[in-house]
């Protein structure tokens, strides 16, 4: 077995036993990147020099007999919208092409304390706006299961890197499904934690009330390990929750006896690929076999989730992205002769089409005279969506749904934006309600991985981790490797 195909917990044991060194491991990852990156195109920026320095440091710590944390010396990849001090952070946008942050995101600080290794920054949809990674200014990322297909998005680079053996683990961010959907498209595990579980400080904001950072990993155990490091209240983020963080690995028990699993019927709607649905229903059967109680439930306001999301998220984005004006950092049009002209031209030239579309949408819905009809109404509907979940969680402990109604589609697929937006119907309600959601592999359709989503109560990551771990241990799907097939 190749080093680059292993999990965090396997490699951690090997490091501790001195069977491998972190430098060896890190080099193995860069060799792998060298071999497949031209096919996959997962990264925007690599940082080999610092990664190897850090690996050498961890090797010294091990040699000195020091106790090391589970992520120490194990190379991961960071989505390029998470601020890394001294390392270019672009959000895959022309407007931040040469932007080098002056500070570390809170999650990066935590990961550094645990002596982990950052291989580089991964490609994404520009400012996390998209679900294909095709809106990146730099490049198109390819799905390692079939290079002709999309890796999903917006954390497509992070998912593809983990799937293709170009990183052991990765961080993504999820505003409407951007961790879970690419995890499902790439046959790996991805968690969006409860809103407020992880500090957003240093995550370049797309939609502040929805954004959440989370892990993309090869199995549930690794996801729990990354969560242990990145979760927790942060004085720099007022929306981070002042609650204790459990040791998530303690939740990893093979036990779903009596667990009440709800299948929300609205998440299996018209657009759902029957082959995807089949895999989810098989998973439900598996849970029954394992002792869980499975029931159909209803979240009646689900049909409004996508449209209200496309009011709230662009509204917040229109303000969040206003700071990219060419004044302090980032791309600047140098021919402009006045400040307003400079800002206009820098933004016109610096942002791509999808970002502009959403800024315009957001600006429109907040405009005087439209606020009540759109933004205010959308916020009211959001409350109804939350209430649906509150009601349903009185009857069950977790919800089981397809992560995406479809498997990864062709890179050449011509879909209008609205059709693409509607595919987020299974992930968006979870962000709207601020709940934790995990996607894990549960089968294949047309040779592509299918992901199932488990949704939990607020701050109850432990139950979805336990349910996910139990399923994972009872199945083999997580052991499949992406073949890097298909001609690019």
């Amino acid at each position: 077995m190749n080093l680059y195909d292993k999990t965090v917990h396997e490699l951690h044991e090997q490091l501790k036993k001195k069977e491998i060194s972190s430098v060896e491991l890190t080099n193995a990852l860069y060799d792998r990147i060298g071999a497949v990156e031209d096919k996959v195109a997962a990264y925007v920026t690599l940082d080999k020099e610092n990664a190897l320095k850090q690996a050498a440091k961890v090797d010294e710590m091990i040699a000195a007999g020091q106790d090391i944390k589970p992520l120490a010396g194990i190379p991961g990849a960071i989505k390029d919208n998470i601020s890394t001090k001294g390392l270019r952070t672009t959000c895959s946008s022309h407007i931040l092409d040469n932007f080098i942050p002056v500070y570390d995101a809170h999650v990066i600080e935590n990961l550094r304390k645990d002596e982990t290794i950052f291989l580089g920054k991964t490609n994404m949809d520009e400012f996390a706006m998209g679900s294909t990674t095709k809106t990146s200014y730099f490049k198109m990322t390819h799905n390692a299961w079939n290079l002709n297909r999309v890796p999903g998005g917006s954390s497509g680079g992070s998912a593809a890197a983990v799937s293709a053996g170009e990183a052991i683990w990765a961080l993504g961010s999820d505003t409407g499904g951007s961790i879970r959907q690419p995890a499902s498209f790439n046959g790996i595990v991805g968690i969006k934690p409860t809103y407020g579980r992880v500090s957003r400080y240093g995550c370049v904001a797309f939609a502040s009330s929805l954004d959440q950072i989370g892990p993309l990993t090869r199995d549930v155990t690794d996801a729990a390990l990354v969560l242990n490091t990145i979760c927790g209240v942060d004085a720099h983020d007022s929306t981070s929750l002042p609650v204790d963080v459990p040791d998530f690995t303690k939740a990893l028990r093979q036990d779903v006896k009596g667990l009440r699993i709800g299948l929300p019927k609205e998440f299996f709607g018209k657009g759902t690929d029957p082959k995807v649905k089949e895999q989810i229903m098989l998973a439900a059967e598996k849970y029954k076999e394992l002792g869980a109680e499975v029931m159909e439930v209803s979240l009646p306001h689900t049909e409004y989730a996508v449209i209200t999301y496309y009011i709230i998220a662009p509204a917040e984005a229109s303000a969040n992205l206003a700071r990219f004006d060419g004044v302090r950092y980032g791309y600047r049009n140098k021919l402009a002769t006045s400040a307003p002209e400079m800002t206009k031209k820098s933004r016109s030239e610096g942002f791509g089409a999808e970002v502009k579309r959403r800024i315009m949408l957001g600006t429109y819905v907040l405009s005087s005279g439209y606020y009540d009809a759109y933004y205010k109404k959308a916020m009211q509907v959001r409350t109804l969506i939350k209430r649906d979940f509150d009601e349903v969680f009185k009857k069950c402990d977790v919800l089981l749904t397809p992560t995406s109604p479809v498997v990864a589609y062709s890179l050449d697929e011509k879909m209008d934006p609205l059709t693409i937006y509607m595919l987020d119907v299974t992930t968006i309600p979870v962000n709207m309600a601020g709940l934790p959601g995990i996607s894990i592999p549960c089968g294949f359709a047309d040779g592509m991985p299918v992901g199932m989503q488990l949704i939990g109560k607020a701050l109850d990551e432990e139950t979805i981790l336990r349910a996910a771990y139990t399923f994972e241990q009872a199945t083999e799907f997580h052991k499949a490797y992406a073949p890097l097939g298909g001609d690019k």
Binding site: N81, I82, S83, T89, C91, L96, F99, P101, V102, Y103, A105, R200, Y201, G202, C203, V204, A205, A207, S208, S209, A235, H236, D237, S238, T239, A315, E316, S318, A319, A322, R323, F324, D325, V327, R328, Y329, A339, P340, T343, T363, L366, S367, S368, Y371, Y375
Partner: protein, 482 residues
């Protein structure tokens, strides 16, 4: 021509005196090197988030209580969106539809007439940075630089009702507001440094009209005088427009202090659509009653209360108004009052010679350039009251005190200025002057009462003004009438 009534409402921005900024821990200190009090948060770096400084809320509540407002327990912040290079995030964190304070008032006194001016609301927000132009003005500059030291400094915006009817009333409101903010110590209130700024909404309407005219908003009013002049100018401009058959358009105008005119900045059509919406990076806060009550208990004596106190001490109303309107002066007065019983005289000294010096130097009473301590002014008052110094000599002593704050008692001795009030000594002088000036004595006895003035003058001259003139006069009259 009809008679017109001016209608004025003021929007006042006061920078709060917190040590650190509203949403980050950068210093708020004024006058530092450009862009040295900045961090990712106040520079609007990608990914940075605001965290509310609790002191901002405390100061806003304190100001609200001092201005007789109702404090709103539920508070949230909103984003006010507009593009400007000095606004790091291109939105300002402010409060829109739910301000922290509502329905307050200030009582003003103009020409002896009392009037209550309503305060509509007070809300919290952050300040922007500052553009520094390479030339004198923005239009004549090759480039502009931005200093973000001020970005994120907390402000409160105090919006009045359109209750003022003249430039004088507006000035009185502004002065009283400034005094109250200084008393509560929530703001430095330095208009020249921009820590207190004012915009005026001005309209005119014919006498007897029931509806206000169309208003113009005047910006850039950096002094009380600018406020008064701008209102006077704008009133005239609007009346002339109407009299000439035109009409006032709703617009934003700027005050040009050099030419004494207001100039159009932008019309209503060009006005910003700020697209306010709730700030998702900050959580709403609920103030509890106990906390508000604690702040209420911390409320210091306010100008109106202090004035009442001074009136009880026999300080004339006009003097009391002047003293309490300047907190530093009022504090100085209170210190001085510990050393003398004659508060009326103390007030006269502060508003007379002391103010004359301060005005000439262009400084405030707490400036190191003014060296005299309050106890020494009180001492000077006491020396006059005891008859040790004439008021004329007291002025001489005061001039010496200004140099290095020596005690007046010491200076009187040092300068040999002690008034001669010794009856024996004065008697001898009286006898001598009578003997030496037979003609004047004869004149006096012949009924020319004025002749005594010459004799008093001789003694004063001889003693270099130190003889107690009252006693000399009395003794001479007695002697000559025998």
């Amino acid at each position: 021509m009809k008679n017109y009534i001016t209608v004025v409402g003021l929007e006042v921005h006061a920078e709060l005196k917190t040590k650190t900024k509203a949403f980050c821990s950068c210093s708020t200190e004024f006058g530092a090197e450009p862009n040295t009090h900045v961090c990712p948060v106040c520079l609007g770096m990608p990914g940075a988030l605001p965290v509310l400084n609790k002191k901002v809320v405390e100061y806003a509540v304190l100001a609200g209580l001092a201005l007789n407002c109702e404090i709103q327990k539920f508070n949230k912040f909103d984003r006010k969106n507009y593009f400007y290079p000095d606004l790091a995030k291109n939105y300002q964190i402010s409060q829109w539809d739910q301000p922290i304070c509502l329905n307050g008032h200030i009582d003003i006194n103009v020409n002896g007439e009392k009037k209550r001016i309503g305060i509509t609301r007070i809300h919290m927000e952050e300040d922007a940075g500052k553009l520094v132009h390479s030339g004198l003005t923005i239009s004549t500059s090759d480039f502009s630089a931005v200093d973000y030291n001020r970005a994120g400094v907390p402000l409160i915006e105090i919006v009045s009702e359109p209750d003022m009817r003249s430039a004088q009333e507006a000035r009185a409101y502004m002065e009283q507001l400034k005094a109250i903010l200084e008393y509560t110590d929530v703001s430095d209130c330095k208009m020249q440094e921009g820590s207190l700024r004012c915009d005026a909404n001005i309209s005119v309407m014919p006498e007897g009209a029931t509806e206000f005219g169309t208003r113009a908003e005047i910006k850039n009013l950096n002094s009380f005088r600018a406020l008064e002049r701008a209102i006077e100018y704008e009133t005239e401009r609007q009346i002339e427009l109407i009299e000439d058959g035109g009409h006032v358009v709703q617009e934003t105008r700027t005050w040009d202090d050099i030419n004494g005119v207001t100039l159009s900045m932008r019309s209503k059509e060009e006005a910003h659509d700020y697209r306010y919406f709730p700030e998702p990076d900050l959580v709403p806060i609920n103030l509890d009653d106990a906390w508000i009550d604690k702040i209420r208990e911390e409320l210091p004596e306010l100008p109106a209360q202090r004035k009442e106190r001074l009136l009880k001490e026999d300080v004339p109303e006009e003097s009391a108004d002047l003293i309490v309107s300047n907190k530093k002066m009022a504090d100085y007065f209170d210190e001085g009052a510990k050393g003398t019983k004659n508060l009326k005289a103390l007030a006269n000294w502060l508003l007379g010679d002391v103010s004359a010096f301060l005005n000439a130097e262009g400084v405030e009473i707490d400036d190191p350039a003014f060296k005299i301590t309050p106890d020494h002014v009180a001492g000077l008052v006491n020396l006059i009251d005891k008859g040790v110094l004439s008021s004329k000599l007291a002025k001489k002593v005061f001039a010496e005190m200004l140099k290095d704050n020596e005690a007046p008692e010491v200076l009187v001795k040092k300068l040999g200025l002690e008034q001669v009030s010794d009856a024996g000594e004065l008697g001898k002088m009286v006898d001598e002057v009578i003997a030496a000036n037979p003609q004047s004595v004869a004149d006096f006895k012949a009924g020319k009462k004025k002749a005594i003035g010459f004799l008093v003058g001789q003694i004063m001259k001889q003693t270099h003004g130190k003889a107690n003139p009252g006693m000399v006069n009395k003794m001479l009259t007695e002697k000559l009438s025998q």
